[in-house]
Structures are given as C-alpha cells and as structure tokens.
Symmetry: D2
Subunit: 138 residues, 4 copies
Amino acid sequence: MKDLARVAISIDKRLMARFDKAMEEKGCTNRSEAIRDLMREALVEREWESGEEVVGTITLVYNHHTRELSDTLNDLQHHFYHSIISNLHVHLDEHNCLEVMVVRGPSSDVRKIADRMIGTRGVVHGKLTMATTGKGLH
Amino acid sequence: MKDLARVAISIDKRLMARFDKAMEEKGCTNRSEAIRDLMREALVEREWESGEEVVGTITLVYNHHTRELSDTLNDLQHHFYHSIISNLHVHLDEHNCLEVMVVRGPSSDVRKIADRMIGTRGVVHGKLTMATTGKGLH
Amino acid sequence: MKDLARVAISIDKRLMARFDKAMEEKGCTNRSEAIRDLMREALVEREWESGEEVVGTITLVYNHHTRELSDTLNDLQHHFYHSIISNLHVHLDEHNCLEVMVVRGPSSDVRKIADRMIGTRGVVHGKLTMATTGKGLH
Amino acid sequence: MKDLARVAISIDKRLMARFDKAMEEKGCTNRSEAIRDLMREALVEREWESGEEVVGTITLVYNHHTRELSDTLNDLQHHFYHSIISNLHVHLDEHNCLEVMVVRGPSSDVRKIADRMIGTRGVVHGKLTMATTGKGLH
C-alpha cells in the first residue's frame, strides 16, 4: 500500500555513528525509522504553526467537589461538541479527577478551547498536547 | 473543607497592573486564582523532576493496518498494567488511530513506559504529557 | 524609586507550605520574590506572543573552516544591523565557534532573523532564546 | 577533511514530499542538510540529558540600580570562573541590563550555575539555553 522511495543522504561518518549509538541506547535499532520519526515530529510542529487541521488532547486535573465545576466543564464541552471527539475520565482519588479530551480542528480553535477549559476556575492543572490527524505522515 | 490563609505579598504597582491586564485578556479575572495557577504549575514541574508519584498521559497516533502494531502495543500495555490506569481509543479515519493512556507512578517509570510506547515501530507520533495526582495542589 | 503595593491573596495553607518548601530547596527564601518571578515569566511569554518589542539572544555553533560561512553570517548580521545590538564570539576549539547575538525588535522580526541565521548552511546548532527589554517588569 | 558516507534510507514518497515542501518554506533547500540538522538537534538534547560536557548560555535581565546586585552577580561569576568562558553585557536602557554568559562543563554543573544566577534577588528574567561544544556534530 505504501509507495516507498530510497533516498540517499550524505552524512559525516562520525555523525552517523553517534546518531546510531544514541538511537540504540533509546532502544531504536532501525536507522530509517529513527530519521523518519524526526521528520514527522518537525512536520507535526509545522501543522500547529500553520493553522492546519490538527488533533490535540486537553488534560485537566480538578477536584470534583468544587462547586459547579463539573457542570461548567460539561457546559463548555457541549458548547464545543463539534470539535471534541471524545473524553476519558479517571478518578484519581476521593477528590481528584483527571479528564482527557481529544479535540480536532484548526490549531487556533483547538488552542482556544484549551485556554477556556484550563482557565476554568477550580481546575488545578491543565495542559494542551499537540498531536496529529496522521494524514501524510506514514 | 479548605484551610485558607491570607498571604500578603509586596509587588510594584506597574507589575501588578500589567499582570492583571494580561490575565484579563486571557479571560481570567481572579488575581488570586491566577497566582495560585502559576504556583501549581511550578510545583507540578518539580514533582516530575524529583521523581515523586505523578500522573501522565501518553498520546500515540498510528496506522492500525501496520503489521503486528496493535498486538505489540497491547502486549506492552499489559506488561505495564500496574501503571496504566486507563485508555482512550479514537478512530481518526480509515487508517489512523489515536490512543491516550493515563499512567501513574514514579516519574522515571512513567517516562520509561512512554519511551517504549512512542519508540514502537509504526507509531507515527507520540507524546508524554506531564499531569499530576492533584495531591496538595488545592 | 519603586511604587510598591501590598497585595493580599488567599491560598490554601498546604499549597502555600508546599510552594515555600519547593522554593527553599531551590535556594529562594523570599516568597514575594518567588511569586513575582512567576508573574514576570508569564508576562515575558506574553510579550513574545503578542508581537511587542522584545529582546532575544540567538546562539549559533559552527565550524569556521566551513567555506564562506563566516562571510555569509557576517553579511546577514549587517543586513539586520538595525536589530542586532551586539555579538559575543567564543572559540570553542580549533574548529568550532560559538556566537551569541543580542537582538531587539518586534517578536516576529526577531524570530525571522533567528530562522535565517540558524538555517544558514554549515551552522551545526542554533537556538533562539526569549528575553525581554525589562520594561514594566520590576 | 570530512569523511562522508552516503546513507540510503527508505521513506514513503508522500512523507518525503511533505518534508521537502515544509523545509523549502523555511528557506532550506538542501534535503541532506535538513535531515542532518534534525539529527544534530536530537544529539544535543541527549548530551544535556546524559551529563556530558556541554556549552550553554545564561541570559539575565536586571536593573543595575538594584542594591548590591551587580556585586553579587560579579562575585558569583568569579566563584564559577572555571566554567564561565565569557560575558556579554548590553545596556538596554537607563535601568535595565542584559547579560549573556557562555558556560562550559558537565550539564549538571551548568544547570547549577544557571539556577544560582537566575535565582539571585533582583534578576527580573533569566534563561538557560542549551548549546554544544560542537564535537562530533559535523
């Protein structure tokens, strides 16, 4: 299904050896795969900068006893339901919840949704993680 | 339930005004909350550096047609089942899957699990996100 | 010279204690100063996002034997002389040089200059560091 | 002087095309150079993680009117004179100074020196930038 090309690049032998050694230490023994991984990472960063369609995850930690917080977050999620694909909720202990939302859309929209969620009063920790639709990255 | 203290800090008036304005532009109108958020962020970073118990999310994007990839990831997840609390799987399109795992443990363990998952051949994108158990952050 | 305000914020006692302990471990025993530092950091990030006038440093490592590289970098620096305030050059060994440029201007300009410098063929390592004019941060 | 190897890697044609296009938009038209840059970046990150000898720059912004600050920073610099290669000082305005130090040593030492400098009372902004000795990166 894949349409592979053999690409030749010129690299100093010591640089190549150092790279191979570093990758091996990380448990990655396939040089082509290691190089493709670096290329993909650079492309995903670019997707986010250029405003293309991206996928991101928003991670929130909050105390579900906080008055009205669950309702507020729920309302927000429904407000953005077009962009929020799915949710995972974990009960960390009696008080703390962790929630991960998978969000899809233009990178500026995803950032805006994350800002709103993370800025909601009572959320003790929030993070937006850049991921990708995977298109054109294989 | 909370045991609140009133803490007085001395701040230059212009710095305070600039901070208030910046926070307002981000939609955050509560100064105490904005300052507490910065303190919590610094503490979560420290949890990760000092090897305390943390919670993290591992996000993977991969093509589920890749030979043996789903099996390999599944095996890995069972190998680390003590640390992996829960999983969310999203079908991005005919080929691409996104998977988020919520992982809990000492930060070095969580990093190791993330390295193994992200380094698995066929994973086109992977990221470890630092979150927290929420303990002592309210 | 300073126009100080006493600002009272309400913080949970355990959160305050954890923060004090974490700062103490980093050698910072002044709570007000630690909180002001977090506020300033947030403001500097904002300066860069909002396109205000910023100061940045561009760090380059390169082999000065690389054909025409010193000339190319020199030409580029003169091309941007309005924005580049000053330069520091260190001879790392027989082959390698490190150069730090201090650049001032709207954040988008500073980013563009950094991209051009870092992307110059023969530069083995380059980084843009966000700093600030210091205005309104005291 | 260089000992070049031709290395063949297999890459999906669409991934290659996307990467070429992204690099071209950044002004980088040499594919080998773009890939080598990614490899070097990964290696520099590793140098810092593994505690090897590194070079870093410490950037400080401070008000030189702050009582005893210049003396304190000067004393610190002399205390660490073995590691601090060189300094660049820029007068940003009547009050604000920017100082860049080039520091060399094991990464943990460089981090410690940066923590001390950045944590000095009166420093309004500080950053440690990871650079490299350039050894084995050509």
